[in-house]
């Protein structure tokens, strides 16, 4: 199974409530995915700066002096926000690749990077994961969440969704891909490497590699229908919004709700039950093999 939720807010004054709304949706999807949970949240960008989200198995040790150590290595001032096993570091865009190299050498996992996006994911019940990261307190313009029932790779932090394989891009998935090993090798031959054995990470890498080659997001998502084999309902996030695509068989559920205030996605209607104005919302199912996109 697996549960997916997504929320795109049309009104700026709702941004502080994004985390609270998305967390309720995420927890409702617990019985579709009790193994692990994750969220990608898009907040305001600062010109010239980039956020890097890292994860540590031993945050007390790794994060205690992280700001100072990374700052000294890069010769700049670094600001770190530590949230449980994750830390978000804000560095100048020009120092991004040096920072990522240093962080990886220090044994930290890079969860995400980008102007707006932060990713938090861990093993455990969605309610517990949300509490650890204080997801309810987070604000932003849009976000995507996932509750995982593992199929294609082990229940680990790195096997949890969302997966990010490019700046400000992420992917969550309900389903399973059957040609992910073949696609992983194809991508590797082009120099695009994945870090886990997970099928969805291959889907994410496929989309970001197509975009890097010049495809639009729409073209990249349409490409998943042709080039990825298996079952999928994908929700992909970018700095400006989110997109939805389902495989042509479309046995993995998906439902959308739209009001003047938001566009919401979920695996089941249950996740919408607490959203404001849901009784008057337009509710529909995204069609199979059709790309949908909402952007600001």
């Amino acid at each position: 199974m697996c549960g997916i939720v997504g929320l795109f807010l049309k009104r700026d004054d709702l941004h502080p409530q994004l985390g609270a709304m998305l967390t309720d949706m995420l927890i409702t999807m617990t019985d579709r995915g009790p193994d692990s949970a994750g969220i990608a949240i898009y907040g305001p960008a600062t010109a010239g700066m980039v956020k890097i989200t890292v994860q540590s198995a031993d945050p007390a040790k790794d994060f205690s002096n992280l700001e100072a150590e990374l700052g000294a290595a890069l010769g700049i001032a670094v600001v770190a926000k530590v949230v449980d096993t994750h830390a978000v570091l804000v560095v100048p865009e020009t120092a991004k690749s040096a920072a990522i190299t240093w962080l990886e050498d220090a044994g930290l996992w890079i969860m995400a990077s980008g102007a707006s996006m932060e990713i938090y994911k861990e093993v455990g019940l969605p309610e517990d994961v949300a509490a650890r990261f204080e997801l309810r307190q987070m604000g932003g313009s849009h976000g995507i969440g996932h509750t995982r029932m593992a199929t294609e790779s082990a229940v680990t932090t790195m096997g949890a969704h969302p997966f990010s394989t490019a700046d400000d891009q992420c992917l969550v998935h309900n389903g399973s891909l059957s040609n992910h090993n073949q696609m992983r090798r194809k991508l590797a031959r082009k120099g695009v490497f994945t870090r886990s054995e997970n099928d969805t990470e291959v889907g994410a890498a496929y989309i970001s590699s197509r975009i890097a080659e010049g495809a639009t997001l729409n073209e990249a998502l349409e490409g998943t229908i042709k080039d990825l084999d298996g079952f999928f309902t994908f929700v992909t996030g970018t700095q400006n919004g989110f997109g939805v695509v389902r495989d042509p068989i479309a046995c993995k559920p998906a439902v959308m709700a739209e009001t003047d205030d938001y566009v919401a996605f979920a695996s089941e209607y249950r996740a919408f039950a607490d959203l404001p104005g849901i009784d008057a919302a337009r509710i529909w199912e995204p069609e199979p093999a059709t790309v949908y996109f909402w952007e600001r």
Partner: protein, 228 residues
């Protein structure tokens, strides 16, 4: 006054137990369900005359195995609504998700909005009226009963069809294997008129086309051995 069960106060199992007991009393009672919030398997296994109105949207498998009861969902229904229905009537005011009315043996499933993929898959005698459109692979291996669609049908309508009758007013994206358009005879117009009336559908029987089985997949055909 109609008894009301509020699902913010009463859990799903208690709601279903109450409804099933009322159906068994055979007393034509009526119930209203408030705040369904997309609950799964709501109003399932009702085995007797009872009227249930659900004030909101439901999740998976609403009104499954229904017998003699009348269930109305004043919202949208999740996957597998009225699955394996035996008799009675189930009405969805909004849209129905995939495999609505799957394997149904009898009764009428009346969907006022659209139904998505696999509507009426393996239907065995149920009548389904969809006022909007239906998705792909609808009526797959459908054996008996009538599927009436006022809007359009998606890809592979009636694939590997047996003897169910399919009536579509709008376009059909593609027909599945062994499904073919058939002549509309007076007896079909009569069936259609009756179903449209029962469903309160604003359409004339003459506006529909009928599709059915070409009956070429019934028996093994040695000339087609390479195609199997």
């Amino acid at each position: 006054m109609t008894p009301m069960l509020d699902m913010t106060k009463t859990d799903l199992r208690s709601v279903n137990t109450t409804l099933q007991a009322a159906a068994r009393r055979q007393a034509n009672e009526a119930y209203e369900i408030l705040n369904p919030r997309g609950a799964h398997a709501l109003a399932c296994g009702l085995d007797g005359p009872l009227s249930v109105t659900i004030k909101g949207s439901t999740g998976y498998y609403c009104a499954g195995m229904n017998k003699d009861a009348t269930v109305t969902v004043e919202g949208s229904a999740g996957p597998g609504v009225a699955e394996n229905m035996m008799s009675g009537m189930v009405t969805i005011e909004g849209d129905a998700s995939q495999y609505a009315g799957a394997t149904g043996h009898g009764g009428l499933l009346n969907i006022k909005g659209n139904a998505s993929s696999r509507c009426g898959i393996s239907m065995k005698g149920i009548d389904i009226v969809v006022h909007g459109n239906i998705g792909h692979m609808s009526a797959f291996m459908a054996q008996k009963g009538n599927l009436v669609v006022l809007g359009d049908a998606g890809e592979a309508l009636g694939d590997s069809l047996y003897e169910a009758r399919l009536f579509v007013r709008g376009s059909v994206k593609s027909l599945g294997a062994d499904c073919t358009e058939k002549e509309m005879r007076p007896e079909h117009l009569e069936i259609l008129a009756k179903l449209l009336e029962q469903a309160g559908a604003d359409a004339k029987p003459e506006e529909f086309k009928r599709y059915g089985s070409a009956r070429k997949l019934y028996n093994f055909n040695i000339d087609h051995a390479s195609e199997y």
